[in-house]
């Protein structure tokens, strides 16, 4: 089931590459992603499409790098909407992103 | 630019066809065409029907061929020249060294 949300192969490759640094990477991501989600929510509340776009884009990239494919996809959808200036109606995705980021934290900690 | 060479049935004459610009970039290929041909050749033909342009390096290459072919005793024909090519050969008076058709 985890495979729908996490590319395990990629994550394991990262573990091989980072070796001792791996735990540090995980905790860095966990911390940063939480901040990005907050930034995104605040931006959407303000209606700031530019800030929303940046936050979504950033989270998308770093999530992809850790194999969190589902979360990355959600961010892409919001990024595109923000780019087109259409934040209205994206609240559902915002909730999903929030949820999925918390889910990712659990998945990652499990793999430490 | 491309070079195509073909020998006659009796193996005595080599025809080198030039397609495109006959200039400095042709140098290597032109040289290989006649240098790699068998020794028994007694005459050469340079076919310029599809040559679009001729400059002084081309004239130099023709002289090298003539040298290779035996210099004064050589038989080198330059054929199918269009009027531009004929003019260039005429100004250099190359008909004094080659048979031009």
């Amino acid at each position: 089931m985890a495979e729908l949300y996490l590319d395990v192969v990629l994550l394991e490759e990262l573990r091989d590459i980072l070796e001792d640094e791996f735990p540090s990477l995980i905790s860095t991501y966990i911390q940063d992603s939480g901040v990005r989600v907050d930034d995104l929510r605040q931006a959407m509340t303000r209606g700031d499409t530019e800030a929303a776009r940046k936050a979504a884009h950033n989270l998308k990239g770093s999530s992809a790098n850790l194999g969190l494919v589902y979360l990355a996809d959600l961010c892409r959808i919001v990024e595109d909407a923000a780019r087109a200036g259409q934040l209205a109606g994206q609240e559902a995705y915002m909730l999903l992103i929030q949820q999925e980021q918390q889910h990712a934290v659990v998945l990652l900690r499990d793999r430490l | 630019m491309s070079i195509l060479s073909s020998g006659s049935a009796d193996g005595k004459e080599l025809t080198i066809r030039i397609k495109g610009r006959f200039d400095f970039s042709t140098h290597q290929d032109f040289r290989s065409a006649y240098e790699s041909a068998p020794e028994a050749l007694s005459s050469f033909v340079v076919d310029l029907r599809e040559a679009t342009y001729l400059d002084s390096s081309a004239l130099g290459m023709l002289l090298l061929l003539r040298d290779h072919a035996g210099g004064d005793g050589s038989r080198v024909r330059i054929v199918n020249c269009n009027s531009d090519v004929k003019k260039i050969l005429a100004i250099s008076n190359f008909e004094q060294l080659f048979t031009i058709q």
């Binding site: 990629l10 790098n65 | 250099s92």
Partner: protein, 563 residues
């Protein structure tokens, strides 16, 4: 297959992404500088000059696009590959990245295999670029040196003479163009415009021996044929078969008042007759220099009468290839039209150069052609003796006391010109060197009288009209060809006298002679006046003919210079 250790700058505002990339790169053996925004990226770029930049597009402070632009400016001529790290998927965004100066992308999630391949590729590209730059700088330095030598060679001659105007393309040495001009001691001017085949330095290498031979021989009074033969022989020997020199050579022969032109391989040139605005084209009738064996070299020049307001124009093919902003070429026809359409007395040289500039709409700096105008010197009807000599030997102290006798018979009369050889011998006498011009004039007059009037029986009155002119030279060529029994004997003697030195010249030809006692008016006795006796009498202390008129003696005295 080890890779060189690179210094790589990584810019990404995501800490986790930074950490991943940094680790990946360090694993590959490279040094990493990691920054979190565009501003810091530019700063670190400036102070550490990385070999490669991996940069995120969206960053705070300064985004990747702007940072890339600044880095390009800082890098100047150096090649620094910039790879954008991005999860952008919109084609427009990606295009904007490339526009800004990005060289490639790497998408997230990072694929280590692809990352390594790209680093390798860009590192190789950078090495190539540096190598090319280095070679180019070397080549430029080499070419500057060559140009320096070329300029010195060109300045050896008479290009600054009043009757010559020229424009030499600044690219001349690279095109293989050469322009040489020199004056014989007797006053004749020789000019050669040449175009070596091939490109760049190898083509230009032929210029040096050609210039050495030209200046050396002209200073020793050799004429156009001898000079060209020698140049042809040297180029044939020294240069590879595929390198030769297309050239047009001109001799302004003031004594005979004609212009002698040999054209081998250069397409363009003409004689412009200002008074009638008519053109006599100069066709190329010989093979270029350096192609034929010495014994096959041909010399069959065009001979044109010299008139005060005529001029010879020679040019390189850069003229017809000059193009305007629309890419159209000037072409030969337009140039010829300039001559035929001009009014009398317009300054053609200025007219041509101005028309070319107007056409190309570019300034003087881009003139990439060579053009030369040769006019007869002013007062060419009067003899002018050049006093400039080719100083190459030291002079012994005493006048000396010697004589020589030299006889040419039919075979030699047909092909040899004894004047340069005799000049060489005579100028061994110190003191005579300063009078080289006078001596040359005297010798040339005497010899041409002996050969043309004495042996061949030609009358110079024939040259008075245009048809007669052509006829004269035709008869001269035919007469020489048919010579069977004929001779010209020359005796030269140098002795010291009270005033200084005495040169006694005696010339005897095998012709019938002429009536040298009864001058009468010029049109009554053309045989007398055609022999330049007035000139000889003005130069020599004594001019005496012996019966039946085929033998003459002249004496020339010079004062010794006190040192």
């Amino acid at each position: 297959m080890s890779q060189p250790r690179l210094r790589i700058l990584v810019a990404d505002d995501s800490a986790s992404d930074r950490l991943i990339m940094e680790t990946l790169l360090k694993r590959l053996g490279h040094d990493v500088i990691a920054v979190k925004d565009g501003l810091e990226a530019v700063q670190r770029f400036e102070d550490s000059r990385p070999d490669l930049v991996l940069m995120d597009v969206m960053m705070p402070e300064l985004d990747g696009i702007a940072a890339a632009r600044q880095m390009r400016e800082l890098a100047d001529k150096e090649l620094v590959p910039i790879i954008f790290l991005t999860s952008l998927h919109d084609a427009r965004d990606l295009a904007a990245c490339l526009d800004a100066g990005g060289d490639d992308f790497l998408s997230k999630p990072y694929n280590p295999v692809i990352l390594q391949a790209k680093i390798k590729a860009f590192s190789r590209l950078r090495r190539l670029h540096t190598e090319v730059r280095r070679q180019r700088e070397y080549l430029i330095a080499e070419q500057h040196a060559a140009k320096g030598i070329f300029d010195r060679i060109a300045n050896q001659g008479e290009l600054s003479a009043a009757n010559i105007r020229y424009l030499l393309s600044p690219m001349a040495i690279f095109n293989g163009d050469v322009l040489l001009a020199a004056q014989q001691p007797g006053g004749d001017m020789l000019v050669i415009l040449g175009d070596f085949t091939g490109h760049g330095l190898p083509a230009a290498i032929g210029i040096m021996p050609m210039a050495e031979i030209f200046y050396g021989m002209v200073a020793k009074s050799f004429g156009l044929e001898a000079v060209l033969r020698e140049i042809n022989t040297r180029l044939k020997t020294v240069l590879p078969a595929s390198v030769f020199c297309c050239a047009t050579a001109v001799q302004m022969n003031y004594r005979n008042r004609h212009i002698e032109i040999w054209a081998g391989g250069l397409p363009d040139g003409l004689v412009y007759h200002t008074s009638s605005a008519a053109i006599t084209p100069i066709p190329s009738t010989h093979l270029p220099l350096g192609v034929l064996h010495p014994d096959q070299f041909r010399y069959a020049p065009m001979i044109v009468e010299m008139h005060a307001h005529d001029a010879v124009y020679l040019w390189s093919d850069g003229i017809s290839e000059t193009s305007n902003p629309e890419g159209e070429m000037f072409g030969e026809q337009r140039l010829l039209d300039l001559f035929s359409a001009s009014e009398n007395r317009v300054d053609m040289f200025v007219h041509i150069t101005q028309s070319l500039r107007d056409f190309s709409q570019q300034g003087i700096q881009t003139d990439d052609y060579s053009l030369v105008e040769i006019r007869p010197r002013k007062d060419f009807n009067l003899p002018e003796i050049a006093s400039r000599l080719h100083q190459s030997e030291r002079q012994p102290r005493s006048i000396g006391n010697w004589s020589l006798e030299y006889e040419l018979r039919a075979e030699s009369l047909k092909v040899s010109d004894p004047v340069p050889l005799l000049m060489h011998m005579l100028l061994q006498a110190p003191g005579l060197r300063a009078h080289g011009g006078v001596i040359h004039t005297i010798l040339s007059e005497l010899y041409s009288n002996a050969l043309e009037h004495g042996v061949l029986g030609l009358s110079s009155r024939m040259k008075d009209d245009a048809d007669g002119f052509r006829h004269y030279y035709q008869l001269r060529a035919e007469g020489l060809q048919a010579l069977q029994d004929a001779s010209v004997r020359i005796r030269a003697e140098v002795v010291p006298v009270q005033e200084g030195g005495l040169l006694r010249l005696r010339m005897k030809d095998s012709g019938p002679g002429f009536d040298f006692n009864h001058h009468g008016a010029p049109d009554q006795n053309p045989a007398y006046y055609g022999r330049g006796l007035t000139l000889l009498k003005s130069l020599c202390r004594r001019v005496e003919y012996f019966v039946p008129g085929n033998e003459v003696l002249v004496e020339f005295i010079w004062r010794e210079q006190s040192n």
